[in-house]
């Protein structure tokens, strides 16, 4: 079935003009009509470059030298322009907010058709049809800031589907979504593919989340090469994922820890159809009983206490409704909840960016409401999600020293303090580098260092690991735990469930401006009501423990995490 092939790479290689080494080597890959393929790999493995070759941004926007052959829809892709390719390949970018071009949902969906000069009357009909397909009819005339992240992504999908494309390409579709919305996005992609029969390529390093719906094939990449190309079940039988720095589905790892040999016949890639024999279930149960119960060492000394905080924005949005919560000295805590649940507002009130209309906020007996933003920052440091939003100096040393200089500290005192902080953050070797030479993860460290240098007792981080692959995620989080062990209290605002489970013993869950839970992360993720209200997702460990007849899914999760941390060290 030669003519079924929609994409074919033959001995393909690519080198960016600005780089000394090729980014892709020797790629051989064919994708057929109606196939659903997951391309996984750590950052820098070449998966985004591969995607850019498919949608034409290479070589049209990012020039470089290609070798070998790349055919899309039977045509030589390197000779096609972006416009020609956009009729065959629809790309949904990672940043669903950034790719929203129109002033309203309807205009954004219509964008490609407008560029094609389709008469206005037809535009309206087509937009209606597509909006129905991706289920955004109700918000057609809304502006981007009036709709949710999940809806934005649906609009992004609608915007490329108007071209009747044969290939849909999703570049890290889960990066900016909360777990429940991510689950819905994967279901929608599956649904659209079944209805339209086009080929779907999903680029993502969060394997378990994509496998929520079956895929036909997984391609694993590393160092610009294809390491594996085949069915997902066979792949999960190997140790390929650990070796390539991709997180395996948790239930698969748990089975492996229990000594269960994974075989293709067990259908390990699709949890609802996972087959476990009685013997294997017994193996899991006995592993569970044999694992020591992890101790809980949570400090009880209250450091920061919020009582009945109430806050309403000027526009009338009642964001906090009687929040009472405490943060203990030396703990590592996560704050979770949907967008708009009040967690960011809470952190703004804590940092003094906004003033609560009611309630009290005390820290070690000091009433925080009497302190200015600047004075509060001596006690509570706030690190924004995007490091580029914080860095204002060109030199690393100056950036870290900024807060001290603003506070009038003498230069003699600044130097040792900055150098000490740079050492803690592993940035000392780079102290004389310009900030622009650093990677994203290193920039993140610079921003953490620039807060840490002020010696706050608490540091509050907004989504510290958003968009990071397993390696960088581990790097950032290990660094934060190290700080935590040195006595800094760390509060994380996050959507990431792994992060919650692995690093923070306690989680506070926000929903509609209220605290709906304040308990251990394992307990939160194993209670279906909280999971639903906070737009989280039950862990697959919950389902595995149920399937094996283990009553306490929560304890199972806790023991698994303890074991996993040991293994990964």
């Amino acid at each position: 079935m030669e003519n079924d092939i929609v994409i074919s790479f033959e001995d393909f290689g690519f080198q960016y003009t600005a780089q000394a080494e090729p980014t892709l080597h020797n790629i051989n890959l064919t994708i057929r009509r109606g196939e659903k393929v997951l391309i996984a790999g750590p950052s820098g493995c070449g998966k985004s470059t591969l995607a850019h070759c498919i949608n034409g941004l290479i070589p049209n926007s990012y020039p470089g030298k290609a070798t070998g052959k790349l055919t899309i829809g039977g045509k030589d892709a390197l000779k096609l322009d972006l416009f020609g390719l956009s009729k065959m390949v629809g790309t949904v970018l990672q940043d669903s907010d950034g790719q929203f071009i129109g002033l309203t949902v309807a205009e954004d969906i219509a964008f490609a058709l407008e560029n094609d000069c389709i008469p206005t009357q037809e535009l309206h009909e087509e937009v209606k049809r597509i909006a129905k397909l991706v289920d955004v009819e109700a918000v057609l005339h809304h502006a981007p800031h009036e709709i949710s992240g999940g809806q934005k992504q649906r609009v992004g999908l609608g915007g490329v589907m108007v071209n009747e494309v044969d290939i849909l390409l999703f570049d890290e579709p889960l990066a900016n979504l909360d777990p429940a919305t991510g689950k819905a996005a994967i279901a929608l992609i599956d649904d659209i593919q079944k209805r339209t029969g086009c080929a779907v390529i999903i680029i993502e390093h969060r394997l378990e989340d994509v496998l929520y719906r079956p895929v036909d094939r997984v391609v694993v990449m590393g160092d610009g090469r294809i390491l594996y190309d085949g069915d997902p079940d066979t792949m999960l039988c190997t140790d390929l994922l650990q070796r390539s720095g991709i997180r395996e589905p948790l239930y698969v790892t748990a089975l492996k820890y229990a000594g269960v040999t994974i075989t293709r016949e067990m259908r390990p890639s699709y949890l609802p159809e996972l087959v476990l024999s009685e013997e294997q279930k017994l193996q899991v149960r006995s592993w569970f009983s044999a694992q020591p119960q992890p101790e809980n060492t949570v400090s009880q000394e209250v450091l920061l206490e919020a009582k009945d905080l109430d806050f309403t924005y000027e526009g009338g949005h009642h964001a906090l409704r009687g929040i009472s919560a405490s943060i203990h000295r030396g703990e590592m805590l996560s704050i979770v909840g949907t967008n708009g649940a009040g967690k960011s507002t809470f952190s703004k009130v804590v940092c003094g960016f906004e003033k609560a209309q009611k309630g009290s906020l005390t820290m070690g007996g000091i009433d925080l409401n009497t302190l200015s933003i600047k004075e509060r920052a001596d006690h509570i440091g706030y690190v924004m999600q995007n490091p580029n939003q914080m860095i204002s100096k060109t030199q690393i040393f100056d950036e870290v020293a900024l807060g001290l200089r603003n506070r009038g500290v003498s230069e003699e005192e600044i130097r040792p303090r900055v150098e000490e902080t740079l050492k803690i953050c592993g940035l000392y070797p780079f102290r004389n580098w310009p900030v622009s030479a650093l990677s994203y993860g290193q920039k993140k460290r610079v921003t953490i260092a620039s807060i840490l240098v002020l010696r706050p007792e608490i540091i509050l981080l907004d989504e510290p690991t958003a968009g990071q692959d397993l390696k960088h995620y581990t790097e950032i989080m290990d660094f934060l735990s190290q700080l935590n062990r040195q006595g800094v209290t760390v509060v994380l605002i996050t959507h990431d469930m792994h992060l919650m489970l692995e690093y923070t013993p306690r989680a506070i869950v926000f929903n509609a401006g209220k605290v709906i839970a304040d308990k251990s992360a394992a307990e939160v993720l194993n209670s279906p009501e909280i999971v639903e209200a906070a737009h989280l997702k039950e862990t697959s460990l919950y389902h595995l423990s149920m399937a094996c007849g283990i009553e306490s899914a929560e304890e199972f999760t806790r023991r698994f995490i303890a074991r996993d941390r040991e293994v990964r060290k």
């Binding site: 034409g56 941004l57 049209n60 926007s61 322009d81 972006l82 416009f83 956009s86 790309t91 970018l93 940043d95 950034g98 790719q99 071009i101 129109g102 002033l103 309203t104 309807a106 205009e107 219509a110 964008f111 490609a112 058709l113 407008e114 560029n115 094609d116 000069c117 389709i118 008469p119 206005t120 535009l123 309206h124 981007p144 800031h145 915007g159 490329v160 071209n163 703004k348 940092c351 003094g352 960016f353 933003i373 600047k374 509060r376 920052a377 440091g381 706030y382 924004m384 995007n386 580029n388 939003q389 914080m390 860095i391 204002s392 100096k393 900024l402 807060g403 603003n406 620039s450 002020l454």
Partner: protein, 275 residues
């Protein structure tokens, strides 16, 4: 947050006009009002502009901020005219009817007051029309209209994009400013000018860097969906001209002719009640 392009969605005959015809009307109306000092015409236009404002179902409260700015502008304008040329009225109208003296060259004459009346009338008949245009034209339709009257669609779309991103950038600016304040950057008016300039750069650099990221994403997204390939594009929010549009444009162009005609018939731009 103050919205610059304060589109207010209501149902009215003015809202129903297309952006293109409103733009033509705005330009024509302004020419008619700006080129003439013929007082009866200005009075008529002022009355008409307030009537149109009512017709658009706009409330004073909707536009109180912009209206306030305009009033301040008109007052400043008149004050400066009087300060710099208190004899301008007498010069124009050729007579000098002294009402009372203040000091030095500052003498209040009937001619000067009449001249000021004309200046105020000119503002009073154009300001409501400008506000009317701003408040009743959907920004995307405005972009479509610009394109229709001959502006390149790339430039028209840039206008629409700017409007799309202004709220995002305002929000981002606000967040960055707060984070900088936490690190001790002084923003209040207490700080000296040098300090404030430094503070501004502390916000602008991160703002520019993160805007660059945004620009890369948006330009990729636009290219991937075929922007800029063809010489023409269509617009989702474009609307067809109706009879009302032609009528409105006809009336406004007629106004320009009337205004020019009066100037010629009168032999001067000024209506002179003093001779």
């Amino acid at each position: 947050m103050i919205n610059l392009f304060n589109y207010i969605d209501r149902l009215s005959p003015i809202h129903r006009l297309t952006g293109a015809s409103k733009l033509v009307c705005l330009v024509a109306w302004s020419i008619a009002a700006m080129t003439s000092f013929y007082t009866p015409l200005l009075v008529a236009l002022t009355i008409a502009s307030f009537a149109l404002f009512r017709l658009a179902r706009l409330r004073v409260k909707d536009i109180s901020f912009m209206l306030g700015m305009m009033v301040v502008y008109i007052l400043m304008n008149n004050l400066l005219i009087f300060l710099f040329s208190p004899g301008h009225g007498a010069q124009i109208y050729g007579t000098q009817t002294v009402l009372f003296k203040i000091a030095g060259p500052y003498t209040v004459t009937a001619e000067q007051l009449f001249y000021h009346l004309n200046v105020i009338l000119k503002n009073a008949c154009t300001v409501p029309i400008v506000l009317l245009f701003v408040c009743t034209t959907n920004p995307s339709e405005f972009a479509a209209s610009l394109n229709r009257i001959g502006v390149s669609y790339r430039i028209s779309y840039a206008v629409a994009l700017a409007l799309r991103y202004i709220p995002d950038i305002q929000r981002e600016y606000h967040d960055i400013a707060l984070a900088q304040q936490a690190r001790g950057t002084e923003m209040s008016s207490k700080a000296s000018l040098v300090h404030r300039l430094k503070a501004a750069s502390a916000i602008l650099i991160p703002l520019i860097l993160s805007s660059m990221e945004r620009i890369e994403t948006i330009s990729n997204a636009m290219e991937l969906r075929g922007f800029g390939k063809k010489d023409k594009r269509s617009w989702y929010s474009a609307r067809k001209f109706s009879a009302m549009d032609f009528l409105a444009m006809g009336v406004c162009i007629l106004l320009v002719l009337v205004s020019l005609g009066l100037t010629m018939a009168n032999g001067s731009r000024y209506y002179n009640p003093f001779i």
